[in-house]
Symmetry: C2
Subunit: 137 residues, 2 copies
Amino acid sequence: MTKFELDPRLAANPHILDWPLCSVLLENDARFPWLILVPRQASVSEIFDLSVKDRAQLYLEVTTAAERLSTAMNPTKMNVAMLGNMVSQLHAHVIARFEGDAAWPGPVWGVGTRQSYEARIAIDRVAEIANVLGPKP
Amino acid sequence: MTKFELDPRLAANPHILDWPLCSVLLENDARFPWLILVPRQASVSEIFDLSVKDRAQLYLEVTTAAERLSTAMNPTKMNVAMLGNMVSQLHAHVIARFEGDAAWPGPVWGVGTRQSYEARIAIDRVAEIANVLGPKP
């Protein structure tokens, strides 16, 4: 058994909280309210690499995150995606999108220049989103 | 009750088959093996607008499509996404990605120029993918 280790490119983003299957991270880009959910499972890159039970839990956690972020922020649209072309460790993006945001109406990946959070603001943002996410699904 | 109607921008893509919840379409872009799954439900734009039962079925159909397409084509990575910034009717993209494809390693949306299938090739492609997708999940 390989041990789970978070890819360092994912680990560069602030950690918000752990849910039963996933660690929830805040993508370090202040332009978008953007969560990353990473199942704490070793050697998994595709959703169908997970057990049927873990797939259901991943989907539950992703849907819950999307719904709660949407309720809190009232975006134009939620974007949910599992791409992994650059970082193959399985992870799901959950992003609140607003008409007129920095990438609208295109997808957010690779658009413009990331705006990293200032350290103090990141701390506040993590606390705020942990509150939005609420109890474990 | 509003009746389900496929958004005309989605309906412009060849229809492959119907699964219990979703119609499966072939994105009309020969550069990528690219499916679109559309739940046949009226007035739904977010995954959490579906009933809990339908969410589970959507996830089952999306995961099954991704796994079977991956098995048949052996891509570098599968991409799965629900964006909907342009077409808000809920739909899931399931795309087989290959190192060096026309958008690699970025996402496929909005990149370069769509290469529509020639009519005869589209018919063959639909038959081929219907065969890959196999029985209803």
